[in-house]
Amino acid sequence: MRSPAELAARRRIRRGMEWALRAALLIALVLSIREALTTMRELPSLGARGGDGSVRAALRDWSTVSSPREAHLQFDSTPSPTTRDWAAALPGAGTSLYWNSTLVPVGLSVEPIADPKGASRLSIASPTTRIALADSLGLMDSVSVRRVGASVGPLFVRGAIRASAGATRAIASRTDSLVVRPVLVLGRAGWEPKFVAAALEEYGWKVDARFAVSPGNDVVQGSPSIAVDTSRYSAVIVTDTSASRYAAAIEQYVRKGGGLIVTGEGASIGSLQRLLPGVAGDALPAGELVSLHPRIGLALRPIVRLNPDAVPLEMRGPRIATAARRVSNGRVLEIGYLDTWRWRMSGAGDPVEDHRAWWSSAVSSVAYAPRISVESANESEAPLAGLVAALGPPSTGDDRGSGEGKAKLVLALFIIAVSALVLETASRRLDGKP
């Protein structure tokens, strides 16, 4: 049997619990009413999908008429930079943004080549295997992209370049221009230096030349005086030992950034050996000039004892035909082919054009050509990466909206209120009160 004191204590505890439950009920009701009022004031979550036009129309509406709590965007094609930046500004106006896309990653870069005609080289990266290339004049080519990407060029492009993979389109323009200077050809009067100079001139290079004819007597082409310097020449081509009188100046020129090509007997100049990628080996005789691979038929002094930092560029079977290396700030290309003029005179197909293009690309590969940056338009060189940079990572679906969370909160408050009411009522009834 309980004592009167114990009974009084238990009654006090029960009354305290009942007041606590009434307080919990009241708090739960107030919070529920507040959540209900907040939800009534908030605007709905809106979404849009499609191309740039549809998304931009939605953005216009959300920015001027409706102001949704959440915006969901699905990009089915590459948005313009304006659309992308517009979407990125939405969170600042109080709209949470979630987005996704069907775009594939494509990256495009356009680099100028040291070339008198203003050629460019394109670098493309994408997991997609086939990319279509177009410039302002229309479709140019399509390229297969391997795991390590693809490089295309030299190309002569007009305006912005577009690389398309399905609905994804990367756009880029040349942002730099190169200062291309003349080429200096040094050699004895002979067919090889003559045809090298002619090929480069016909391609569009400005060519100065010194052809040694007799002791102290040169045939001069171009500038009456030569200074082997990067302010005068983009590249120097040495075809035989008559250029040995310029060896010291050539070495200084290369170390300052100049481009040097050495071919034929030029590789035998002792004072230039330390610049060369390798040593010229014993000559192999000329063969038949086959149209598909004309240089296979040229006589060759293969490059042997390659310097560790030199890179073989062309091979003929196991033999190195051309190789290059960097020397201080400059680049040196050693060509083992002899009498390339035979390719131009006797080759099949379009040997004149092929010979020109090959020699021009050789010069381009070593040419000293300072860059000048030009203003570029607002491009989308990597559209998917640009979207992620501007809008954050795409939505995965799990983070879509706080609506569900709010619904759970209201439900929880309701359960608390009902539980508190039931427990308070039960407590009073058990105490004999109404």
Partner: protein, 204 residues
């Protein structure tokens, strides 16, 4: 480095071999005045086969009518377009003669009208200086043939003012086709302009 080889063009219609001592006289002069590596003997190459493309300098002369076969014409055109140099000379020194008339017809048919080479052209001063243009030959001065001193040469030009084919009515074939021993009696070496032709071909 490949040496210079003096080549004489063989063509079907005429007497291509009419100046047989000319190659050795010009080879001797090139070796004497320059440091150009030159093969001691010349070669004869047919215009009709691909052999001509191995020799970017070719001498073409004769007395008789010149009529190219289709193959010769095609090869000649391609040869000049690819950068070869042809020196074509009228061994008759007669602009009213059969060689000149027929050769001109063939050249115009193949290349179009020829252009006059100005006296300021680099072929006249690339080694020896000929400020008055092409030097006169003894045949011209002696009234041989057409009894004219031709002041200018004509050419097929490629890529601006580069000469691909040079045509002469001055009869250098006779002027340079002398017995080598007689050179020592000449006060002025007449082959100097021939050296200019070869130096020009090797540098332009």
């Amino acid at each position: 480095m490949s040496e210079f080889v003096f080549a004489t063009a063989i063509y079907q219609s005429g007497d291509w071999e009419s100046a047989q001592k000319l190659p050795s006289n010009l080879i001797d002069s090139v070796a004497r005045y320059t440091s150009i590596q030159v093969r001691p003997t010349g070669v004869n190459v047919s215009l009709a086969n691909g052999e001509i493309f191995n020799y970017p300098f070719v001498w073409f002369t004769g007395h008789l009518p010149v009529r190219f076969t289709d193959r010769e014409r095609a090869n000649l055109k391609l040869y000049v377009e690819r950068g070869g140099f042809v020196m074509m000379d009228d061994h008759n020194h007669d602009i009213d003669g059969v060689y000149h008339k027929t050769a001109m017809e063939e050249l115009v048919r193949t290349f179009g009208p020829l252009k006059t080479v100005p006296k300021s052209h680099s072929i006249y001063n690339c080694f020896f200086n000929f400020n008055d243009g092409p030097p006169a030959t003894s045949h011209e001065l002696n009234g041989w043939g057409d009894n004219l001193v031709h002041k200018e040469l004509q050419a097929v030009m490629t890529a601006g003012d580069r000469i691909g084919l040079l045509y002469s009515s001055k009869d250098y074939s006779s002027e340079w086709d002398f017995e080598p021993e007689s050179k020592k009696f000449m006060s002025v070496d007449p082959t100097r302009f021939g050296v200019n032709l070869i130096v020009y071909a090797l540098t332009r």
